[in-house]
C-alpha cells in the first residue's frame, strides 16, 4: 500500500487517472472516446421511435401514405398541425382526453390521501395485527389486476358503477394502494422516533402528529408517489377497457377503436398517441427526479 501511495503522488499531476502506465492510460482515453460514441449512438437510437411518431403526427394523411416520416428532412414544408386541429375538433376524442384527467386526478388524490393515512397507522400506531397487515400489503404489490376484473365487473354492475368514471377511479385506487402504502410506510418509518414521541409527550393527537409532523417531512415521498400514480393511471388501457363505457373512456380506449385500420390511420393514430403522451412527457421532464425515485422505490426499499 505504501508503494502504491508513492506512485499516486507521481502520477497525479500528469492526469486524473492514477496508477497506470502511459500505454494503459492511452488505451483508457481511447476507450473512453469509444464509450462516448457508443452511448451517444444508443441515445439517438432510443429517441428515433418517438421522433418518428412525432413527425408522423405532424404530416397529413396523403404525406404519410406516400412516404415515410424520415423524408421530412428533404421536405420540411410538409409539416402541419392540421392533424392536431382535426383531432381536437373531434368531439369524442377531445372528451376522452378530458376523461383521462377526470380519471387520473381523483385516482391520484384518493390514493395519496388514503395511503398516507394508512401508512401513518402502520408506521407509528401500535395495534394488534400490524405486522400481518404490513406483510399483506407487501404481498399485494404484485397482484395481477386480471384477478379482480371479473368479480369487480360483477360488483360494479350490481352497484351501478359499471361504465362510469367513478368505477374506473375506484378500481385504480384499490390497485394503487398497495404500492402507495408500501412506499409511504417505509418513508414514514424512517422519520426519527424522537420527533413523533416528542409530539406525543406534548399531548398532540395522532391526527395532529400526522398533519403537523409527518406530512411536512414526507413531502418528497408524497411527490414521488403522486407523480408515479398519476402517470400510472393516465397510461392505463386495460382497466378502462373493461370498466369504462363510450362516454367515460379515456384516450387510450378511444384510440384503440382506430387500431383496426392501422395503415390508413397512421396520421390519426400517431397524433392521438402523441396527444396522450404530451402530459406524461411534460410531467416526466418537469418532475423527473421524483418520478424516477417513485419507480425505483417499487423495489428498492
Amino acid at each position: 500500500m505504501t508503494l502504491v501511495a508513492e506512485e499516486v503522488r507521481i502520477d497525479v499531476p500528469v492526469s486524473g487517472a492514477p496508477r497506470r502506465g502511459v500505454l494503459t492510460r492511452l488505451v483508457a482515453r481511447l476507450g473512453n472516446g469509444v464509450v462516448q460514441v457508443v452511448l451517444a449512438l444508443v441515445a439517438v437510437f432510443w429517441m428515433v421511435p418517438v421522433f418518428g411518431l412525432l413527425i408522423a403526427s405532424l404530416r397529413d394523411e396523403s404525406a404519410n401514405t406516400a412516404d415515410g416520416w424520415w423524408t421530412v428532412f428533404t421536405k420540411p414544408a410538409e409539416l402541419t398541425l392540421a392533424n392536431y386541429a382535426e383531432l381536437v375538433a373531434n368531439q369524442a376524442v377531445w372528451q376522452s382526453f378530458l376523461n383521462t384527467f377526470y380519471i387520473a386526478v381523483p385516482a391520484t388524490v384518493l390514493v395519496v390521501v388514503m395511503a398516507s393515512l394508512a401508512s401513518y397507522a402502520l408506521a407509528w400506531i401500535e395495534f394488534p395485527g400490524r405486522e400481518t397487515l404490513t406483510v399483506v400489503v407487501v404481498g399485494l404489490l404484485v397482484m395481477p389486476i386480471q384477478v379482480a376484473l371479473i368479480p369487480v365487473a360483477k360488483l360494479f354492475g350490481a352497484l351501478g358503477l359499471f361504465g362510469t368514471i367513478t368505477g374506473v377511479v375506484l378500481f385504480h385506487v384499490a390497485f394503487g394502494l398497495p404500492f402507495a402504502i408500501f412506499l409511504l410506510r417505509n418513508f414514514f418509518a424512517g422519520i426519527p422516533r424522537d420527533l413523533i414521541e416528542a409530539a406525543r409527550m406534548d399531548g398532540a393527537t395522532e391526527w395532529v402528529i400526522f398533519k403537523r409532523v409527518v406530512l411536512p417531512v414526507a413531502k418528497p415521498a408524497i411527490a414521488s408517489l403522486t407523480i408515479f400514480q398519476f402517470l400510472w393511471v393516465w397510461n392505463d388501457l386495460l382497466v378502462a377497457l373493461v370498466f369504462a363505457d363510450q362516454d367515460s373512456a379515456p384516450i387510450t380506449v378511444a384510440l384503440r377503436a382506430q387500431l383496426r385500420q392501422f395503415g390508413t390511420n397512421i396520421d390519426m393514430l400517431s397524433t392521438g398517441a402523441f396527444l396522450s403522451m404530451v402530459v406524461p412527457l411534460a410531467v416526466f421532464l418537469v418532475f423527473q427526479k421524483y418520478f424516477v425515485q417513485g419507480v425505483l422505490a417499487g423495489s428498492t426499499k
Binding site: 400506531i125 404484485v142 397482484m143 376484473l149 395522532e206 384510440l255
Partner: protein, 431 residues
C-alpha cells in the same frame, strides 16, 4: 429513550386510534382486491353461466386449448428472454455510463419510455416495424442496406410475351438463333408509365451479316398489335441480354435507348438468347416483422426499449453504493477492466441484479397492452400471452367468465413466487 415507559400509556399506543387511519384503505383493498381474489378462485370452478359447478374442468380446458397453449409458450419465451436481456443490457450500459460526464442526460433519455403509456409505445413500434418500406423505418433501413449490396432490378416483373422459357438464370429463347438473324423481343408485364424517360421509340434493326441483332421493347397490348412494334411503343434501355452456346455465355450486351441490341462476333453455330433474371427480379420489400413468425421477437424488442432505462437507473444506483476501494484495489492488483467487471462489480451487484430481474419477470408475466396493440388482429393468436388471453376469454370474443377466472387464478399462481420473494426481502430488510 428514557421516556419509553411513559409512552406506552400515551394516546399513540391505543389501537383504537389506528382505525380511522386504516379504514378507508382497508375497505377498498378488501372489497376490490381481496374479495375478488377469493371470488375468482371460486368462480373458476363454475361454468360460463356461473350456475353449474364443473370442478376442475376450466383448468383442464385451459391446458388443452391450443390458443391458451400458444399463450403459455409465448409467456415462457418472454420470461426466458426478455428480463435477462434487459438486465444484461442495463448492466453493461450502467457500467459504461459511469465513464461519461453526461450520464444523467443519458439515463433520462433511456428512462423516458417508462413515462409514456404502453399503448402509445405499442403504436410507436407498430409504426417502426410497419411492413411497407415507405412507412416502417426498420424495413426502410433493411431494404436500403439490401439494395446497396444487390441493387434493385430495372424492370421488376417484366417478361417476354412468348417464345421464351423461364429458367433460374432468366428467360431463355426456345428457338435458337445465329449470326445474321434479327430478333424481335416484346416484353409485357410492366407499366408503360414506368419506362425510363430516355427511352426512344423502338425500331426493328435491319439484318447484318455476321451479327445477331434484335430489338427489345415494351409491347403495350392496349391500342397496339400484340407482338409487333407499333409507332408509339418504346424500347426498353439497359436490359442485359446474353448469348448462350452449350450452356456457356459467349456474349453479353445491353439494350440501347431504342431497345436495340447487337452481338457482333458470335462466330458460327446456333446460340440461345437469354435475358438474365436480374433484369426482372421483384424489388426486395424487407421482412414482414408483424407477421406470424417474427411477431413475438418484435414485441419483446419494444419491451426492451421501454424497460432498459429502468434497469440502468436501478443498477446505477446499486453501482454507486459499491465501495470504490474494492474496485481500486482490484485495479491496483493489475486487473483489467473486464476482470474488475466480472470478478468485483458483478458479484457485488448480484443482489441488485436479482431484484431488477424479479421485478422484470413480474412485469413480463402481466404483459398485455404491447401485444394487444402491436400484433395486428390476424396474428394476435400467434403473439398471444396469458394476460391477453384472459381478457379475450372473459370480455373479448369469448365471454366465458369461468374459463377467464381459471386463467386469472393461473396468472396469480405464476406471480405468487414473486410475492413470497418480496415478502421475504421485506422481512429481511427490517430485521
Amino acid at each position: 429513550m428514557r421516556l419509553r415507559v411513559n409512552v406506552d400509556a400515551a394516546p399513540g399506543r391505543s389501537p383504537r386510534q389506528a382505525i380511522p387511519f386504516l379504514l378507508p384503505a382497508l375497505i377498498l383493498l378488501a372489497a376490490l382486491v381481496l374479495y375478488p381474489l377469493v371470488y375468482s378462485l371460486i368462480r373458476s370452478f363454475f361454468d360460463a353461466s356461473g350456475n353449474e359447478f364443473v370442478g376442475p374442468r376450466n383448468y383442464v380446458d385451459t391446458f388443452t386449448d391450443p390458443r391458451t397453449l400458444t399463450a403459455f409458450r409465448n409467456n415462457v419465451i418472454w420470461v426466458v428472454v426478455a428480463p435477462a436481456a434487459v438486465t444484461g443490457i442495463g448492466l453493461v450500459l450502467a457500467v459504461l455510463t459511469e465513464r461519461i460526464r453526461w450520464a444523467t442526460a443519458f439515463r433520462l433519455v433511456l428512462f423516458m419510455p417508462m413515462a409514456i403509456s404502453l399503448f402509445a409505445s405499442g403504436i410507436i413500434f407498430r409504426l417502426v416495424y410497419d411492413e411497407a418500406p415507405n412507412q416502417g423505418v426498420v424495413n426502410a433501413v433493411v431494404v436500403g442496406v439490401h439494395d446497396m449490396f444487390s441493387p434493385a432490378s430495372q424492370y421488376p416483373g417484366a417478361r417476354p410475351r412468348d417464345g421464351y422459357a423461364r429458367t433460374d438464370a432468366g428467360f431463355a429463347s426456345i428457338r435458337p438463333s445465329r449470326a445474321g438473324d434479327t430478333i424481335s423481343l416484346p416484353l409485357i408485364g410492366y407499366s408503360s408509365q414506368d419506362v425510363p424517360p430516355q427511352a426512344l421509340p423502338a425500331s426493328p434493326p435491319a439484318a447484318g451479316t455476321g451479327e445477331l441483332r434484335g430489338v427489345l421493347w415494351l409491347d403495350v397490348s392496349v391500342g397496339g398489335r400484340a407482338g409487333s412494334v407499333d409507332p408509339t411503343e418504346r424500347g426498353l434501355p439497359g436490359v442485359a441480354v446474353e448469348a448462350v452456346r452449350d450452356g456457356q455465355v459467349v456474349a453479353r450486351t445491353t439494350t440501347g435507348d431504342d431497345g436495340r441490341f447487337t452481338f457482333p462476333d458470335l462466330g458460327a453455330g446456333d446460340v440461345t438468347v437469354r435475358l438474365p433474371a436480374e433484369n426482372f427480379t421483384l424489388p426486395f420489400r424487407g421482412l414482414t416483422w408483424l407477421g406470424a413468425s417474427l411477431i413475438t421477437p418484435v414485441i419483446i424488442s419494444s419491451w426492451i426499449w421501454i424497460m432498459t432505462g429502468f434497469a440502468i437507473t436501478f443498477i446505477a444506483a446499486g453501482l454507486s453504493a459499491i465501495p470504490r476501494d474494492a474496485l481500486e484495489a482490484a485495479r491496483v492488483d493489475g486487473a483489467t477492466e473486464w476482470q474488475v467487471f466480472r470478478r468485483v462489480t458483478v458479484p457485488l451487484l448480484s443482489p441488485v441484479l436479482l431484484v431488477v430481474f424479479v421485478t422484470l419477470v413480474i412485469n413480463v408475466l402481466k404483459i398485455f397492452e404491447l401485444v394487444f396493440v402491436i400484433a395486428p388482429g390476424s396474428v394476435q393468436s400467434e403473439a398471444n400471452v396469458l394476460a391477453l388471453q384472459m381478457w379475450q376469454v372473459s370480455f373479448g370474443t369469448g365471454g366465458d367468465q369461468g374459463a377467464g377466472s381459471a386463467l386469472a387464478v393461473i396468472l396469480f399462481l405464476l406471480v405468487a413466487p414473486a410475492m413470497l420473494f418480496n415478502i421475504r426481502r421485506f422481512r429481511r430488510e427490517r430485521s
